[in-house]
Amino acid sequence: MDDPVGIRALTYRLGSSEATLEDLEAEGLLVSPADLLRSFGFDRVRIAESDEERRSLARVAAQNLLEDHDVDPLDIDVLILFGGLPPEPAPPGEDGELIGRFRYPVGRLQHELGLNRAVAFAIGQQGCAALISALRVARSLLIAEEARNVLCVGVDVVPPGAAREVVYNVLSDGACAALVSRPWERLRPVAFRQVTKGYYWDSPARRDEIVAAYFPTARNVIREAVGAAGLTLDDLSLVVPDNVSARSWEILLDLLDVPEERAFLGNAARKGHSISADLVVNLKDAMEDRAPEPGAPVALFTFGFGANWGAAVLRA
């Protein structure tokens, strides 16, 4: 019962092709001018080139995690697939029967990975905040001793030809995987705070209100998550952001009175906003780059349209 729950392994895979803001602008895939987006902290994104790559991103990310960390697929008890973009429904069967719609990506992923003992389900409709829900569910299952290994896999791929900008954020294609295990001492999730405000469900209609609501709610959610962990903002050794506009993070950190150097900023320019995979991308890179002391408090925060604000506090 007292076994610690921690994130045992992290990995991610971004689209194989790189495009600059100017490339995207030339192809008409941006809403805002490239120079404006650059001033907001973006520079380039990663794009999955082929249908095959788009289909296989999640599998490749998860496969890499299992192989790199020598995890037997049969040791996975639960598979959670998550994403920010709503998945396109599978087409109906040839005769129009609805059974075609039941071709779930999570079942296929379980099959392709050989996770034959795992229960598989998906988490969605939380925008970029889906990872926080996946981690929270994984931790709850592990604490309840209903599992020893939960594999969380996230994937978001922008449909070919669609604009790669959402409200001044430039989108990459990407997938990630996080293996949450018991017992595991490192990267222990110790507190979560999530807020969903359904009033803002119609994002285009409520766009300005969402912009105004973002900062006060984000500040409160992060403070409350840190408080729930028995910590203060001063105790945080590392803040792991999502890869939205660097300017918005600058403002949010100022609101929180957290020095910028304690946040792992910069990946938005290098890797773009890979929607629900961002936090895994940045957590993995930050652990390698900043190497926080074991047990040091690390805060994760993201916002997803819908509208969802989510924060987690981990012990490194």
């Binding site: 404006l36 300005d208 609501a213 006060p216 709610t217």
Partner: protein, 382 residues
């Protein structure tokens, strides 16, 4: 002392009817009304009705009108009107002004400074003039911080063109204090009627409350503990009327403020607004709007710059509206009220807490001035 005859400009403004009520009890009043397309009779009737709504017992038979426009030479007064005013008027109260914060400076000057100078030229011929009162703003102190004395009028920078124009008008008046009995009444921000909550003309603070209600205020610059100088219309009117007619010492300036402990801090204003909207508008409460955090100047400036750069028309409009007055909050001030207390020691406005919720209720009922306040809208939100 003989009864007063007051020439009043700005009778149709926020303070007009409440001031008229007080002035009419003390004597007679001639209200200077600008000639407009709307019939003079209708405008006079509107002023009379507004006074009677404020004070059903007001002796409105003592209220007269004269057509004039301070934007033109001689205020557009005919020779007969000018002669009559010069003969009868004992006090002048210059209440008219253009309180829009976003005007280009030349227009703000035209409507606040040039008009004041024109009025001074007119009153030079008034034989019986005992007092000339100018209604100004506390924020002629601009971006200064700390203790502001009533006699202070230091050149500084300003948050908006209204502040600057009022400062320039005061400076022009100060230069004439040797030959005219000029007093200046710097009035706090008027919230509305303490009795009914009525807001005759929404101003910047009501605009800010409206944006808050619409969920469009992400943050406010300033310090949560800094006091905000807020005042109800009835007591502001009483103070100005009494200072003009009973007590005004020529050459003095008065800070017409509620005094320490009777107003809200910025943090309290946000808290009370949040509570009020939640109590008065259940649909608003369900939206889960968070109180806007009070932030440092640099944080607000960064947000402002980001919105400007984003070129998001709607949000830019919101931020530009807020930025005509919110930055004043980053320049905390304490307004001394020595002259005020000496002149009116018995003047005691109610604490803002006593009537603030009535003002909010009025704003919601009247849809921020767009609907008759007696009509209960089906839904108060949006």
């Amino acid at each position: 002392m003989t009864a007063s005859t007051v020439l009043l400009t700005g009778a149709t403004g926020t303070l007009g009817p409440a001031l008229l009520s007080h002035l009419l009890h003390a004597g007679s009043v001639v209200a200077l009304l600008r000639p407009r397309e709307e019939s003079a009779r209708r405008r006079r009737d509107a002023v009379l009705a507004a006074v009677q709504r404020v004070d059903p017992g007001a002796p409105v038979g003592r209220l007269g009108f004269v057509a004039g426009d301070l934007a033109v030479p001689g205020a557009g007064l005919g020779p007969d009107d000018l002669r009559r005013l010069a003969r009868d008027v004992t006090h002048v109260l210059h209440l008219a002004g253009d309180s829009r914060f976003s005007l280009p400076l030349p227009e703000a000057r035209r409507n606040n400074v040039h008009t004041t100078l024109e009025l001074l030229r007119v009153v030079e011929s008034f034989d019986r003039l005992r007092a000339f009162g100018f209604v100004s703003t506390l924020y002629v102190a601009g971006t200064r911080t700390g203790d502001i004395r009533e006699q202070d009028l230091a050149d500084t920078t300003f948050v908006n063109t209204y502040e600057r124009a009022k400062f320039e008008a005061e400076r022009a008046l100060r230069a004439r204090r040797t030959d005219l009995p000029i007093s200046v009444f710097r009035v706090a921000t008027l919230l509305g009627s303490a009795r009914t909550g009525e807001v005759r003309k929404p101003t910047a603070i009501h605009q800010a409350l409206r944006l808050y209600h619409r969920g469009l205020v992400p943050m406010i610059p300033g310090d949560p503990v800094q006091p905000l100088e807020l005042l109800d219309v009835e007591h502001a009117a009483e103070a100005v009327a009494r200072l003009l007619v009973e007590r005004s010492d020529a050459g003095s300036t008065y800070h017409v403020t509620a005094g320490p402990g009777e107003t809200f801090s910025l943090g309290e204003l946000i808290e009370e607004t949040h509570r009020g909207f939640g109590d008065l508008d259940p649909a608003w409460k369900e939206r889960g709007i968070e109180p806007p955090p009070v932030v440092r100047a640099r944080t607000y400036a960064l947000f402002e710059r980001t919105v400007e750069e984003s070129r998001d028309d709607a949000m830019v409009a919101v931020v530009r509206t807020m930025s005509t007055f919110l930055p004043q909050l980053i320049y905390p001030k304490r307004f001394a009220r020595i002259n005020m207390e000496a002149a009116l020691p018995d003047w005691r406005p109610p604490p803002v807490r006593e009537y603030f919720q009535r003002v909010l209720a009025y704003c919601l009922r009247s849809r921020w001035g767009r609907a008759p306040a007696g009509v209960e809208p089906a839904s108060l939100s949006r």
